[in-house]
């Protein structure tokens, strides 16, 4: 371990907690310290660990410091303009810059009775109502969760009382600003019985900024609650992004997760759900669109712990250049989970010889009377489809783009929020040859 690393680690234990949220609250400081010790004891994961076999995070270790900014940064003018545009479209917007809540750019708006949306720092500083177990929760197969607990600066907390319904989505914009920042967002969504909401997490960064994001979102769904979560990763092509989205679902609840990975140099998303009550439903969807030297890894895990739950998982990837995609999808049907109905699929298109994908759907069944299917494919664009389009006058390049768009759109179409759907469709088309022309036809 080099000297610099030790010095920031020293800082992390001594000084950093003093400028982080909840510094005046003993249990928060205690939780941060023990989390940091967990991180130190383990260190960064290596490829010798099964869960990190295909994703090398050694380059993260080359950073001289993992410490978050001590004072909030300003967003670039482009990011500021984007935040402003979003505020015109979305009535509940929270903006974070390098992990710090920005009151000025946010517009939380009018919320119905029973809904509370606030920043985590506000909650931690007041030490009100947040249970220590939630903040200190240790998440499976990633030491980055511990690092996040130790260093989390801020995040969004959405609390819905039973029966509360949000008509408009909560839009969380995480802007990465400047070079080299280490960013630790921590979000919490707690939906009471029968509550319904949609939450969007949008990670936005400049093209060539080298920042490191380690984000955690925890989601708790009480009985009959319905939460749709859409994450859009649009950070710059030099950034590193590691994130966990972890849901716990009670009976009859519905959880939908969509993960769109379009930008970043190296990204790892761990998305998990625990179906703890009967008749719950969980739907995990994802799309990764990669080129250059991008590396994106999705690890998902669904635990069926109660009977008669259903889960659906659709992940797709389009890989060009020398990019590398990883999909590892675990579905575990525990002994108590009779009558489980689970389906999982991962499909990939490789557009170049150097692009590579490792796909590993994993089904572990310990219960009887279950219906589980899974499958994975890696292939190229279909010649028959290309010919069909060309036979209608569409040039070969546009035909390819249309087919790729269609392949992606099957996943994008699963996003419920129309504004978000269009935004992602446009981002995908921006990456495809002749995409501009196709956009005009939508």
């Amino acid at each position: 371990m080099n000297i610099q690393l030790e010095s920031w680690e020293h800082m992390a234990l001594e000084q950093i907690p003093q400028f982080l949220a909840g510094s005046g609250v003993p249990w928060v400081s205690q939780a941060r310290q023990s989390a940091f010790e967990r991180y130190m004891a383990h260190g960064l994961p290596t490829r010798r660990e099964e869960e990190w076999k295909y994703t090398d995070v050694a380059q993260i270790g080359k950073r001289s410091s993992f410490a978050p900014d001590s004072i909030p940064a300003d967003p670039s003018s482009e990011a500021a303009l984007f935040a402003w545009t979003l505020a015109q479209q979305h009535p509940h917007l929270m903006v974070f810059v390098n992990g710090y809540y920005s009151d000025g750019f946010s517009a939380i708006g009018e919320l119905p009775d029973g809904a509370r949306l606030q920043s985590l720092s506000e909650l931690l500083d007041s030490s009100a109502e947040l249970s220590p177990e939630l903040f200190d929760a240790a998440h499976e197969h990633t030491v980055f969760g511990a690092l996040n607990t130790a260093l989390a600066t801020d995040g969004a907390v959405l609390h819905l009382a039973p029966g509360t319904e949000l008509k408009d989505p909560v839009y969380l914009l995480f802007i990465a600003s400047g070079h080299g920042a280490a960013i630790y967002p921590r979000n919490l969504i707690i939906a009471g019985a029968g509550a319904r909401a949609t939450v969007i997490e949008h990670y936005f960064g400049m093209l060539d900024a080298h920042h490191f994001t380690d984000a955690i979102t925890q989601i708790e769904l009480a009985a009959d609650a319905d939460l749709q979560h859409c994450k859009l990763l649009q950070e710059g092509n030099a950034s590193i992004h590691v994130a966990g989205i972890h849901a716990v679902q009670a009976a009859r609840s519905r959880f939908g997760s969509q993960s769109f990975a379009l930008g970043s140099r190296l990204a790892r998303n761990d998305i998990t759900s625990r179906l703890t009550g009967p008749d719950g439903h969980c739907s995990l969807d994802g799309l990764y669109l990669l080129d250059g030297k991008q590396h994106v890894d999705h690890h998902t895990r669904i635990d069926h712990l109660a009977p008669s739950c259903t889960s659906r998982e659709y992940y797709r990837g389009i890989l060009d250049g020398e990019s590398h995609g990883v999909f590892n999808g675990k579905v575990i049907v525990h002994p108590a989970a009779a009558k489980t109905d689970a389906h999982q699929s991962n499909r990939n298109l490789l557009l170049s010889r150097q692009a590579e994908v490792d796909t590993k759907p994993q089904l572990e069944i310990f219960a009887d009377d279950v219906k589980c299917t899974h499958g994975a494919t890696v292939g190229q664009l279909d010649d028959d489809s290309l010919f069909y389009l060309r036979s209608r006058g569409v040039d070969a390049e546009s035909a390819r783009s249309l087919l790729l768009y269609g392949f992606a759109n099957d996943i994008i179409g699963r996003v419920g929020e129309p504004g978000m759907r269009t935004r992602i469709q446009h981002l995908v088309l921006d990456r495809l040859p002749q995409g501009e022309q196709i956009k005009e036809l939508l």
Binding site: F387, L389, R390, G393, L402, F407, N409, D410, I438
Partner: protein, 250 residues
């Protein structure tokens, strides 16, 4: 308009078309009949520009151009259209987007302005109504989950929207119910025009009662073994393809 001379072609070293001669003039409707595997679809797909066929002899001229030298999209833009025997599904691309992309690329080639979204939508709706198609098929992905008959009608819709100069319909009547057959036939008849030629590939005399062809050809083992007027189709219906072979032998 179309002139095929002594065309020999095959795939993976297997010869499928073994000396086709066929001339089609503007305003004409031709029917091509023939047993399964005789090469009808191969001929149609080859004309539309599908890659992968080896042309070993012969030539195809279309509107005074060397058709075989043109890529598929150029043929479409020059007014050639093929209604597929097995229409292809394009997941994630709506029927509306597909039609717009096709029509605009063809119009651009012809030096026409791209149609704006409203005009396009109106055009598509009008044509769908003529073909008795449900408008709900517009936002759906191309052919995905369409019934067999819906797929065939969708091919005819594309033809109606793109207004080709030479339309080849490969078994568009197969799989249509009697009412749908009548509607599709009306649609095709409505497109008969002195400047347009239509080639119907079919197994059934019934279609040819609705769309009366000027010439009927019998394709067998990669060759046109007989051509005649509309009555030929009726005789074939009665006697079968063996009869043509017997007559030839006699």
């Amino acid at each position: 308009m179309l002139s095929i001379k002594n065309l020999h072609a095959g795939i993976h070293g297997k010869e499928i078309l073994r000396g086709i001669d066929l001339g089609v003039r503007s305003g004409e409707v031709h029917a091509i009949m023939g047993p399964n595997g005789s090469g009808k679809s191969t001929l149609a797909q080859l004309l539309a520009g599908r890659d992968g066929y080896e042309v070993t002899a012969g030539s195809v001229r279309y509107l005074d151009q060397d058709l075989l030298a043109m890529p598929a999209e150029a043929r479409a833009r020059a007014g050639l259209f093929l209604a597929f025997q097995y229409p292809v599904e394009i997941p994630g691309v709506s029927n509306a987007l597909f039609l717009k992309a096709a029509l605009n690329s063809i119009r651009k080639q012809q030096g026409l302005d791209e149609l704006d979204a409203m005009d396009l939508l109106q055009l598509m709706r009008d044509k769908m109504k003529l073909l008795g198609m449900d408008e709900l098929l517009l936002p759906r992905a191309v052919n995905e989950g369409f019934s067999g008959g819906e797929k065939k009608r969708n091919e005819v819709l594309q033809m109606a929207v793109l207004e080709p100069k030479l339309a080849i319909l490969d078994e568009t009547d197969s799989g249509l119910d009697i009412d749908a057959l009548k509607i599709v036939a009306d649609g095709v008849n409505g497109m008969r025009h002195p400047q347009r030629a239509i080639v119907l590939v079919t197994h059934y005399q019934r279609l040819l009662e609705f769309i009366v062809p000027d010439v009927v050809h019998v394709l067998s083992q990669g060759r046109i073994v007989r051509s005649g007027a509309a009555e030929l189709a009726r005789e074939l219906e009665q006697h079968g393809y063996g009869w043509v072979e017997e007559q030839k032998a006699a």
